[in-house]
């Protein structure tokens, strides 16, 4: 059996005008999944890598510690020659 449908024109197809303008108002678009009953990430500062809740911040702290210590104590050995450098009274 053939399917009969009636084509309903979209506002842009019917009225043109402002409906043709790029950047149609947001009310027309489907909304994405939204979080409710919780503060927006922007309001909590979670989006910042400097926030203690950010894993990136802790990775940065560990890396900074490891690389920083290595920078203060370095030993290079080539064949019988050994050269070392250290900072401090040692």
């Amino acid at each position: 059996m053939p399917t009969s449908t009636w084509a309903v024109p979209s506002p842009a197809a019917k009225y043109g005008g402002a409906f043709m303008t790029p950047g149609a108002p947001a009310t027309r678009d489907d909304t994405p999944l939204v979080q409710i009953a919780g503060p927006a990430p922007e309001a909590t500062g979670m989006h910042s890598v400097w926030h203690p809740n950010s894993p990136l911040m802790w990775v940065g702290v560990i890396l900074a510690g490891a690389v920083g210590l290595a920078a203060f104590s370095t030993t290079v050995r080539v064949g019988p020659v050994k050269a070392s450098a250290s900072v401090g009274n040692g």
Partner: protein, 394 residues
Amino acid sequence: MPAVTATTGPVRYMQGIAVPAESVRPPEFFARTRRRTFNEGSQTWGGFGGQNTWELKKSDIVAAAVIRFTGSLVTLKGTGAIGSTARWPYDMAKAVRFTANGASNVINASGGKLKAREVMKKSDLNDRGVSQTFAGATVTQGTLSAASESWGVGSNTSNIADGTYAVDVYWVVPIAEDEIDLAGAIFGATSSTDLTLQVDSETAANLFTTTGTAAVTLTGSMQVTTIKYSVPIGADGQIVVPDLSLFHSYIQSATTALGTGENEVRLIGQGAGKTMLRTLFQIWNGSTPQAPLVMNDTNYGKLAWRYGSNETPDEYLSGGVLRKLNERMYNSDIGAVWGYGCMDFANENAFRDAVDMGTTSDLRLVINIQSGVTLTSPRIEYAQETIFQAGAGS
């Protein structure tokens, strides 16, 4: 971590009401819906200068409302005389306002402008051959009257004899711009809906002139009938609705800053996102009671609409030219009796002609009033018909 307790499904906002996105299926809606002609109730007319208000029933999808006044006009001259003004009978409804879901007054126009809009949109509905009395003469063209209507007494007519006259007139409130595809119709099937229709009635002094002990009494009732469409349930158990993201607006404004020669009347309410479909105008002139200037070469010179510095897309040489082109569009001589003229962008092909108000800054009507016209307290009344996404403006 901040608490995130729940999520919601995708929704679309339809005129401020959240509707599940998957429910918006226009083809299925039109296949399943049922038209309903619904009696919203009859009220005793609020009297001259009074008010009648209806809160429409919360059901279905509302496309149009029809307001009917039926009553009895009693004139008693006594020692004086009675005449009607040109506001009688259609501007008896001084302002008809419709408020929908927080968008205040999407419709706000006088009864006469609503009659004109009905003919402008529905050009197969014409007033040809319908006999009424205007300025003491019988007119059969351009009255905007249906044959089933009764004005009781003529409009703008003096020396009305004593009598009891039956009055029966109606106005259509165009909630949807198009009653076929329901563009601009309102989703009413929710308790959070607020649909209010209000009719402000004109004062007796603006409808009738009386001298001596003459008295005019008008009594009657107002009935509201709405045209609605049921909200069907789809095969998946969800409601099915058409695209109801639009608002249709018909707003009347007025200004008195007019003189002979060229007048640029700036259209108020312009906004990005709005599409203008037509602008109707009419100039009232003369000492009280005023009458509209007939749309002809004697009264009007060049007529146009303009935007920007001097962009003038449509220019009519004189009132007579616009009147003929309007009659050709509407199948009604709207300029003959009530003096209407209209810059129309939707009658033939809205997609081609409609005006994007966001890209036409400083929209204005250009109206030349001939130097031979004696202006006394002139007042231009114009009604703009627009359509726009809900939330984009009002």
